[in-house]
Symmetry: C2
Subunit: 407 residues, 2 copies
């Protein structure tokens, strides 16, 4: 039986993690937090996964270097500017680490660094230098909330999760914050997500757990099909829970991986449901695929379809668009065995069987689709492969937000 229990506190839920966020003035909106710190009391095992986009933000280059030894102790992150495609990007990112190190008494290479916001505009270091002492002074064991706000851009809701679990008889905790919203179609990692845990685990096993998990979580999220330049998911494990360090596979590793999966699924759903302009979370569950990879491809194709996403915004059971998206997914299966149903907390309607439409009540369909979370169940009828993908509807507000993001 699983020992997972959701807990409050976000990145400060695990023992020994302080956090804070402040508004230092990077963004034109001078009221929202735009600079955050997460600091562990002791050194941590560290692991991260990054975007597969060839354009990589300078913070990714610096983070990779800093955690090459599998160790880190803190996270510094700003919003409002991605520090990407700037000639001086790496220099600025390193300077940001040094400023954070000075304010916290750590070393620059102890930092995981993240930046998110507009691409291709120089990141001004002065507001960061000016604000850092205040930010460091604000660090607290209850500071996850302000740190979570500090990394958000067009996000409308905070993504902050926590869970407790048991490893070798010891109670451990894991927490996370993330920013999502736009440019969300991860390939290896999405956006910025920072996960903390007090479990003791070696850097190698931490990286293994993270890398294996994201294939079915972050990589199964899409808001708009655009894979960002700055996607980073980083995890710090400080070992303060006192469990025997996890250094290989087995029951302890499995318990850790289960907790990590709980957190990453929560983050994935949170990011998808708060996609730019979104009014609905879409979850596509594919079963009966010849293999798992086929299931993943089909699930992601459905939740990526602009046409289907717009239909969901209109609460229109236009299942032909689901079938169209299944049909153009680059995978091998028999379209004539496909069945589709749409469901929510308000009920379920079968819309397609054996690749053809079945009659359904439009009234019932309207009722089902009026919910905030819609599940699209697809059965391929060919095997046991399964996958889930998360997305959101396509709305006027997505266009509005992205029609004048810079200005």
């Amino acid at each position: 039986m699983s020992s997972l229990t959701p807990i409050p506190g976000g990145v400060c839920a695990p023992k020994g993690f302080k956090a804070a966020g402040i508004c230092c003035g990077i963004r034109s909106n001078k009221t929202k937090n735009d600079l955050s710190l997460i600091v562990s009391d002791v050194p941590c095992s560290a692991a991260a996964v990054y975007t597969q986009n060839k354009v990589k933000g300078a913070p990714i280059t610096v983070t990779k270097k800093n955690i090459a030894d599998g160790k880190a102790q803190a996270v510094v992150c700003n919003s409002g500017n991605a520090n990407t495609c700037n000639a001086d990007g790496i220099e600025i990112a390193e300077k940001m680490c040094r400023i954070a190190a000075e304010a916290t008494g750590l070393k620059a290479e102890d930092f995981v660094i993240g930046s998110t916001g507009v691409i291709g505009q120089p990141l001004p270091i002065q507001p960061i230098a000016d604000g850092m002492p205040k930010l460091a002074a604000a660090l607290s064991y209850e500071g996850s909330d302000s740190a979570a706000w500090g990394i958000m851009t067009t996000d409308t809701v905070k993504k902050e999760y926590g869970v407790s679990f048991t490893v070798g008889g010891k109670t451990c905790s894991m927490g996370a914050i993330a920013k999502g919203s736009g440019m969300i179609h991860p390939n290896m990692a999405t956006m910025l997500a920072f996960i903390t845990t007090d479990a003791a685990i070696s850097p190698a096993m931490l990286q293994k757990a993270l890398s294996e998990d994201i294939v079915d979580t972050f990589n199964m999220v899409s808001v708009d099909g655009d894979t960002s330049t700055n996607d980073t998911v980083a995890i710090l494990a400080n070992g303060m829970a006192g469990n025997e360090e996890i250094t290989g596979t087995g029951a302890d590793y499995d318990a850790f991986a289960e907790a990590l999966h709980y957190i990453t699924v929560s983050l994935s759903r949170g990011i998808a449901g708060d996609g730019e302009g979104a009014t609905k979370l879409l979850e596509c569950r594919v079963t009966g695929a010849p293999d798992k990879q086929t299931a993943r491809i089909v699930a992601k194709s459905v939740i990526t379809s602009s046409l289907f996403k717009a239909a969901m915004f209109g609460e229109d059971a236009n299942w032909g668009r689901v079938l169209c998206a299944i049909g153009y997914a680059p995978a091998d299966f028999d379209i004539n065995k496909v069945a589709v149903s749409l469901s929510s907390e308000k009920g379920e309607i079968a819309v397609c069987k054996d690749g053809s439409g079945v009659e359904f009540s439009e009234e019932k369909a309207a009722e089902v689709l009026s919910a905030k979370e819609i599940i699209i169940s697809v059965t391929l009828g060919e095997g046991t492969g399964e996958a889930v993908a998360w997305g959101c509807d396509l709305t006027y507000d997505y266009v509005k937000i992205n029609g004048d993001y810079r200005t």
Copy 2:
């Protein structure tokens, strides 16, 4: 020197082609034409390319069978219903051919058939049967306009083109009509496009010319990333221009291919510029790629990016999104050599060099982007590969049109 001359008349521009369109009442809107015929006076060489979506409309199955011998003499097409994902689809499509044959004195297997509109709702044959005699009676050598309107769905402008060219000293003509708008991201062929010509060319060479051409024309168009179930481009060549039949490669074939390319580029631009809700035509020109395929992939990635498309709607020179889309294109090149500029009839601005931003005047940028046609020029700086792709901006109206398409 090219002998191409644009001419009016659409599919009736070539000798011996009649056309007509009427409103028979398939659509809920009983005022728009929804049924069209194109008929040649004599039998034609025929060729076609179809969607690569696994879900294929019943008309595609029937057209493939009818032109398996390389011959056809007419096109029948309805809008308002795609006749796709219906258990009785093929039966209905064959019945539609028989009804058209009876009204025109041809054989059912002489017909190329197309259907476009909603997926997964039974196509009622009665309005088609009732309307066909009237439609056949309306056929005329000046009927391209009404036929063009009859195949449109959410299109706002008619796509109708014509060109004259010379083969072996004989003046030939080629004409075309198409419907585009939504579910536009062709893979091998897009939407419905019907091309006519009075040039004499063998079925094999006709198919070769069409198949080779679409790789750089229809397949380089995207409105929304959704590859339709009914995409069909068909061409009929009736030989009435009197040129010696083209049966192999050489100067005559090249002249024919050049005319075909003129028509397909015109159709591609027309379809992209009239994408659902679009206010702007986007043309991405990639040069300096290591090879042609890389150029195609990069060009298509840019014009498919939802974020960039929304920025163009907002007339915002957010070139970071161009670079982001170049960066996640699945191809191999050095992002640090990339240069990007944006231009229109109102001027040009360089926005990125060596993968980093360059300063530009926001005022000038706003002026350039206020035009209706925007060219995004991307230089990869690695070789001689080139490609062009066409798309459109992402607007409120795209969401509106697709939020309640069925209802």
